[in-house]
């Protein structure tokens, strides 16, 4: 079999090797760099998207937190409002109750007083009648005569009014 020289340039081999080098460059580009770079690109995009998502989620969480805090504050304010309102109402009511109680009490007192006065009057009248009767009996016994009924009543009245003035 023929052999080529140990050191020497074969023109065709030279040309073929140039072509081979560029062909190899294309093949490496096509089969190694292109797919790997595409994949790396995709991964980078994914990482970016994830970071963005995370940032967004964080922002949302923060917004939610502020909202929550605001709500809490509002609720607290509302609660304290309600409490003050309730306290106010309660004190008002208690005042009213006290007032009405006092009124009632005074009304009751008045009624009792008027009752007492009436009773007193009644008692006085009864006493008057009793005393009249007694006086008539005593007078009848004393004079031993019948006095007309009219004079009788007159006399009693006079007597009583004198008694009333005296008492």
């Amino acid at each position: 079999m023929q052999v080529q020289e140990l050191v020497g340039i074969v023109p065709w081999t030279f040309v073929a090797q140039i072509c081979n080098l560029f062909l190899q460059m294309y093949l490496i580009k096509r089969f190694l760099f292109k797919p790997v770079n595409e994949m790396l690109q995709k991964r980078r995009a994914m990482a970016d998207a994830e970071i963005q998502d995370a940032t967004k989620a964080k922002e949302e969480a923060l917004a939610m937190k502020t909202e929550y805090e605001q709500n809490m504050q509002q609720a607290k304010a509302k609660a304290s409002d309600i409490v003050t309102e309730a306290q106010k109402t309660a004190s008002l009511q208690s005042e009213e109750i006290l007032k009405s109680a006092a009124q009632e009490a005074s009304a009751m007192k008045e009624k009792a007083e008027s009752d007492i006065a009436q009773e007193k009057r009644k008692a006085v009248n009864e006493v008057k009648n009793e005393i009249g009767g007694m006086a008539m009996e005593i007078a009848g016994k004393v004079i031993e005569r019948e006095i007309k009924e009219e004079d009788h009543a007159k006399l009693i009245d006079e007597f009583i009014s004198n008694v009333g003035e005296a008492s």
Partner: protein, 252 residues
């Protein structure tokens, strides 16, 4: 005992002759080159099939590592604007390394043929020159030869031409030296083996002396330097020089 160290075998010569280029020959260099290309391309396809964005396989990690290393090497040495050079430098390195290491399986390295390195060096030289012209303009490029003083012009031209020649010959010489020394060592050890076992008298000695026992083992140690170290080193140096020369040419 005669030993002969020759160039690559010629498998077939096409009968027709092309002017300047001569007859087209299918040489060992070309066949092994194609094999190398097939290997590299097959490896690329195998590494990059079924790529995933997350939960990557070890295979994909290797592919990513290769790409990242090539990116870092080119961009680190040449800058971001030479991103388009990455596949070329990667192809150069891959072809060189695989060509150098394919001698481990007993094939003849395509890089043990000066035509291969000359082809690569010419391509690189063309790129360097194109970059220089692009950077300084054609006038600036021509004027560059007369610096620092016009008398230096011949030396400048010489040094310019020396670039591709030195690149090609450095790589070729290292690989060829490996081929030559390995050939010599195999032959010498075979001779020593035959003489050593020839000392055994009778038919046993005759049979044993035909088998080169000493060829087993010892050449492997030489191979560590001449194939592994030298092969990877030269590929790296070639790519490094390519990158450096082109990056220098791009500087104002």
């Amino acid at each position: 005992m005669d030993i002969e160290i020759t160039g690559g075998r010629i498998f077939y010569t096409f009968p027709f002759e092309v002017p300047v280029l001569g007859k087209f020959q299918i040489t060992e260099t070309l066949v092994v080159s194609w094999l190398v290309m097939l290997l590299i391309t097959g490896l690329c396809i195998w590494l990059t099939h079924d790529l995933k964005v997350e939960k990557i396989s070890r295979r994909q990690a290797v592919a990513e590592l290769l790409v990242e290393t090539a990116n870092k090497f080119v961009i680190g040495n040449m800058g971001e604007k030479f991103r388009y050079m990455i596949p070329f430098v990667a192809a150069l390195f891959a072809t060189s390394v695989v060509s150098n290491l394919i001698s481990l399986v007993g094939l003849r390295s395509p890089t043990a043929d000066l035509s291969t390195e000359a082809a690569w060096a010419i391509v690189v030289f063309t790129m360097i020159t194109a970059q220089k012209i692009k950077t300084n303009g054609f006038g600036g490029y021509m004027k560059g030869f007369t610096t620092p003083i016009p008398i230096m012009t011949p030396f400048n031209i010489l040094s310019e031409i020396a670039t591709p020649i030195s690149m090609a010959c450095r790589h070729f010489g290292n690989i060829l030296s490996g081929v030559v020394i390995n050939g010599l060592i195999y032959a010498a050890l075979a001779l020593a083996s035959s003489k050593l076992f020839g000392l055994i008298p009778g038919i046993v000695g005759d049979v044993l002396s035909k088998i080169p026992f000493l060829d087993v083992g010892i050449p492997a140690i030489m191979s560590v330097y001449f194939d592994w170290f030298s092969g990877i080193m030269q590929a790296f140096i070639f790519c490094m020089l390519t990158v450096m020369y082109i990056a220098n040419a791009a500087e104002e």
